[in-house]
Amino acid sequence: MINPVFFDAAVFASLLVLLSLGLTLTYLTTKVPNFAHASFATLGVYMTLIAVRVWDTNPYIAVPIAFLLSGLVAITLYVFILKPLARRGATEAIQMIATLAFDMILIAGLNIMADYLTEGFRIKSREFTLRSYDLEFMDLPMIVFIAPIAVAAIGITLYFILKKTKFGIAVRASTENPDLSGTVGINVNAVYGVAWMIAGGLAGVAGALMALWFLGDPNLGPLLLPSIFAASIAGGLMSIFGAVAGGLLVGLAEVLGTRFLAGELGSWLIAYRPLIPLIIIAVTLLFVPNGIAGIDWSKLRSKIWRR
């Protein structure tokens, strides 16, 4: 029997990869950290709740719906708020505050939905768990397999889209130099919009899957946000592959690191788990400000080799 903490770690790390991928993608386009990103995932959590409890169907039906829903919300944020603000020359800080305000609205909306689900359908809609609704595969909950597989599949697909398709080249060109890409005929706005759609969608997928393993709550976003930012910053904030590595690092460090340290030092330590992403952010910014993706591995290797 495998220790369930490894399932925790696998699921959490994979979902963190999805979330930090999306955050990095939006950061690449608009250069503004999106503080509402975690709440896109909460939307996904509620899609799964609705699929399972209201519609009585397979929980995985919620995944594509969550992709669309969160994607649309993300596009709304970009098109109606961030783009007009940027056009008017609002500073970075103002745009960040705008994403915080959007997050407030989302959280309020989610709470209203949670109240409505409780009132209208008699469903436990706060601090709920849906583990028992998951399908089984080889006597284990299916999510344990689906989460890592989905993340690997999405990562590889994204890699091919970005490296091999015309659209991917357009994305990379517009993030590199929007003005120049505009002059060679790339519709930069459309490209950014699609990037936001994908980023929001991935967050929605992460949320929909997360609902099957972790506790769901409308206020999940603010709790999750430091982990997502830690993952993206550890990955360098500017690199898609860095985001994957950062997500794995933070996810595993949070779950396994806490468990290991608690075993060594005592169980009081478990409560301080939320401090781990904060420490990772601080350490990354102080010692490797460009993140994992910014480390020059060949140089490092030759340095160690010589010794």
């Binding site: 708020i81 709470n111 603010p222 910053i233 904060l278």
Partner: protein
């Protein structure tokens, strides 16, 4: 007790909350409006101040008055005994609470110095993320380390106004708080009219140019953050004392970081009068919503608190999109032309109204 008019309670509470938020917002305006430092970790200093007020004076009084029992374990009885002791020792109480404010300011300033470490080294967005993360830590530590403020149960704070008759307690507190806010306002106005204030604006508008003119941009920023954090910590301590209790979980990002930003943006950045206007608008709106909450509770199938949050988020977005300069616009700096220096009362008048 029963004969107190609800409208009277409404207004005294409004004044108290307005004053506390005004101090926090003035300090945030110093950092963000005048200094351009996006302190997304405002809750850190506010929470630290509240934690100091919740843990220091109660323990001092308990040791002076030889009150039995552990301050956290037997918090209710210790604080009740302390309140009784305060009635007979007004002078000493005053000293203890002044000392508390000094400690709060020192702790706040220290955290400000810690905050300024990344603030001097990081660009806008990285800085905002780091400070946001710093701000989260205060709640996590407070919630999980009971000796500080009782962990998840919270603690009661001894009331320095125990000697005032019950029906006068809240009005007295409101008057003291509004005086404190006025002092903070005067202090902030004086700071921004000082050489430090002018170089702060210069650093915000063009860092390179001000550095080439010999301004130590790092020091200016650091001083500002330390001063602003100390002010915010005092406000946090005032809040803890006013409400008479502290619980770590109340020091969340939205109440003490997001709302202050909202208020100063509505009022107008880099403009202390605007800050007061924005604070008053916001606090009044919230109080009115809470006041009338019961009357339309049954109309909607959810808790009205969320409607409040929805509305405030939407208002902020509308302000940012359609009136980014806020209600009152920042005035250009006037440094020349004031040949004769006004004296005494005229000077205070100028500070307040010009």
């Amino acid at each position: 007790m029963a004969s107190i008019d609800p409208a009277f309670i409404f207004i005294t509470d409004l004044i108290a909350i307005f004053s506390i938020y005004a101090i926090i917002n003035l300090s945030l305006n110093l950092e963000f409006g005048y200094g351009g430092i996006p302190n997304f970790g405002k809750v850190l200093a506010v929470g630290a101040g509240a934690f100091v007020a919740a843990s220091v004076p109660g323990r001092i009084i308990a040791s002076i008055a030889n009150i039995e029992g552990d301050y956290i374990q037997n918090n209710l009885s210790v604080v009740a005994a302390a309140d009784i002791w305060i009635i007979d020792n007004i002078g000493l109480t005053l000293v203890i609470f002044l000392f508390t404010f000094v400690i709060a300011a020192v702790v706040g300033g220290g955290l400000g110095a810690l905050t300024s470490y990344p603030a001097l080294r990081l660009r806008g967005d990285y800085l905002a993320i780091t400070l946001l993360a710093f701000g989260e830590s205060i709640r996590i530590i407070g919630n999980n380390f009971p000796p500080l403020v009782g962990g998840t149960l919270g603690v009661q704070v001894p009331d320095p106004l125990s000697f005032v008759p019950d029906e006068l307690r809240f009005p007295t507190a409101s008057i003291i708080l509004i005086v404190m806010a006025a002092v903070a306002y005067l202090y902030c106005e004086m700071t921004i009219r000082s050489p430090l204030g002018r170089s702060l604006r210069a650093v915000r508008d063009n860092e390179l140019a001000s550095a080439s003119l010999g301004k130590d941009t790092g020091r200016v920023r650091m001083k500002t953050i330390i001063v602003a954090s100390a002010l915010a910590a005092i406000a946090g301590a005032l809040y803890a004392i006013y409400t008479g209790s502290t619980i770590a979980i109340a020091f969340d990002r939205s109440s003490w970081t997001f709302w202050p930003f909202l208020m100063i943006l509505i009022g107008g950045l880099a403009n202390n009068k605007g800050v007061l206007v924005g604070t008053l608008l916001f606090v009044t709106l919230r109080k009115v919503i809470i006041f009338f909450k019961d009357s339309f509770e049954w109309v909607v199938p959810f808790d009205v608190v969320w409607l409040d949050m929805l509305l405030l988020g939407a208002i902020l977005l509308v302000v940012l999109l359609f009136r980014p300069q806020g209600v009152i616009v920042e005035k250009p700096t006037h440094t020349l032309g004031q040949k004769t220096k006004a004296k005494g009362v005229v000077r205070i008048f100028n500070l307040l109204f010009r």
